[in-house]
Structure formats: C-alpha cells, structure tokens
Amino acid sequence: MTHFLHRLLFFGLLILTACSQTAHWRLNDVSGHLPDLQFTLTSDSGRPVTAADFRGKFVVMYFGYTHCPDVCPLTLAHLHSVMQKLGNVADEIRILFVSVDPARDTPAILRQYVTAFDPNVTGLTGTPAQIAVIAKRYRVVFNPDAPHSGDDYEVSHSSGIYIFDRAGHARLLATSADTVDAITHDLKLLTGGGP
C-alpha cells in the first residue's frame, strides 16, 4: 500500500512538473534517499571538524586522493569552473574533498592539493576508521591496490559528487561524467530555492 502511494505520489509529481513547465534538475535528485551530512574528520588545517561546522553553507562533497593525477584533478577543475560560473553564489558553497587515502594524505599535503584548484575547497582526512564511517554512510566504495613498491599504489574510488543544502540534507548526486553546465545549472537552482 505504501509502495502504491509512493508511486502515485511520484507520477503525480511528474505530471505536476510537466504541466507547470518549471525547470528540472539535470543531476539526480536524491532528496530523502541519502542520509544528512554527518562526519567527524580532520580538516586540511589540522583541526578536527564535523558536519556542523558547514551548516548554513551548501556543500559539494567528492571523494578522492592526492596521488590521483587524472580523474580527481579533472573533477576538481570542473568544480572550479562551476564556481567561476556561479560568481557571487560561490560564497555560499563549500566543496569538501574527502580523502580515501588517509595513510598518505596528511592535512598539509591535502591543503596544498585542494588550494591549487579553488579557494572554496576544504580537504578532509582522518583515521582509517573515520574515513570508513563516512564512506559507508554514502555507499562510497574504495579499495587501495596492493602496493607495487612501498608508497606507490592507486586507490579505486566512487566517482559521485554529493550535493547538500544549507540544512545538511542530501539533495543531488552528480558523477564525474556530468558537465560543468549541468552542475552549474542545478547549483544555481538549489541555492536560489529549488525548481
């Protein structure tokens, strides 16, 4: 019965949206499907931080690591372009780059890495247990390769970009394949109050 009501509601919303001709999200709408922003980690300045420190800001969260020279920089460069296109709105947004490689990603290295991309990015690292908690919360899978030689290894990781509103509610999910225009469009919409 609940299932039926959900479907009814879903199709009802669909028709409503179609009729009113309002703007649509171009990213995946995950409202109500992913948990609120919550974590206890260490910021790139070395201080302990929790999600409460970012309440009042829209948050764009991405998981990666500094020894990732191709896809992570590509995604961060895209997010930098998004921030530039958003202009003043960018001040209301914080990008969180969460390390899935806490063994190598010290706060100092993370800080150098993220500030090379955009002033609105904060790097977050933590103990392996703390990283495991936030990864599990957002169903992020990551797996370090068996090290080839000492410190030289890759970490496969989920490519999701999680977007939260000022209250810390998960709202949208993008991937590294989504365009700068799509992410800019939806962030403009979200910061302006939604479609």
Partner: protein, 146 residues
Amino acid sequence: MRIASALLGLMLYTIANAAPPLASTLRIDHAWVRWLPAGLPAAGYVVIHNEGNAPQRLASIDSPDYARVMLHRSVQKKGVEEMQMVDGLDIPAHGTTTLAPGGYHLMLMQPVHAVKPGDIVRLQLHFADGEILRANLRVRPANAGS
C-alpha cells in the same frame, strides 16, 4: 699520434651522441601537463598523429625531468574510478591516438627538480619499431580546463 687519438675520441663521441633516426611519420600536438603541488604524481597528455602507412605502437616513455613515466588509463566501472597500467598504445596508420583527461594519460612520477606552471617538461616517446619522438609538454595550472 696525439691527433689520431683526438680524432678517434671525436669519432667515438659523435657515435655515442648520434641521435637515433627521428620518426618521420609521427607528429604530436596538444601536449601538456596538469601541475600538482608537493612533487605529487602529475598527468601528461598528448595527441599522437601517425601520418605513415604502417601502424605504430608507443612502447615506453622517459623524461629527463621525472624519475619514472608510466602509461595509464582511467576507467570507470559501475561508478568506481580505477587506474589501469597499460603496456603500450597503438596509433593506427593515418590515424590519431588521444591521451586526454579521464582516459589514457602519462603518469609522471618523482620530479627530479621542482616543476611549476609555465615550465616545459621534456619527454621521449619510444615506439616499438625503434623510433623516438621528442615532445615538449607545457605545464598548466592544476585547475586548467581540458
């Protein structure tokens, strides 16, 4: 005798420093490196054009500016990003092979000196048939667009 040994020395020097035959049918452009701080591994990108009648295969790469250069490929499997090591890369006859962000790239590891945006990184691309192509890659800022 002194002249003879000097001549011999000059000949040996010339042989030792003779450039290997330069690739005549290969050409590269869009060559750049995405700078990263703290001597972190950086990615290099090139587009290789093969204007010859025979296919070519990029076998290995080295650089006087980095201790190691590897050929890698970023792949996405079910929403998970992975990096794969690649043995070699084919450039078809009269074709083009692109190394660009989010796909094939050169992994530049352990810079032997500080590298910064604006610099030139020198590479030698070794092909399976023995040809060597030299390339200069412009270092662009970390947040450069593709």
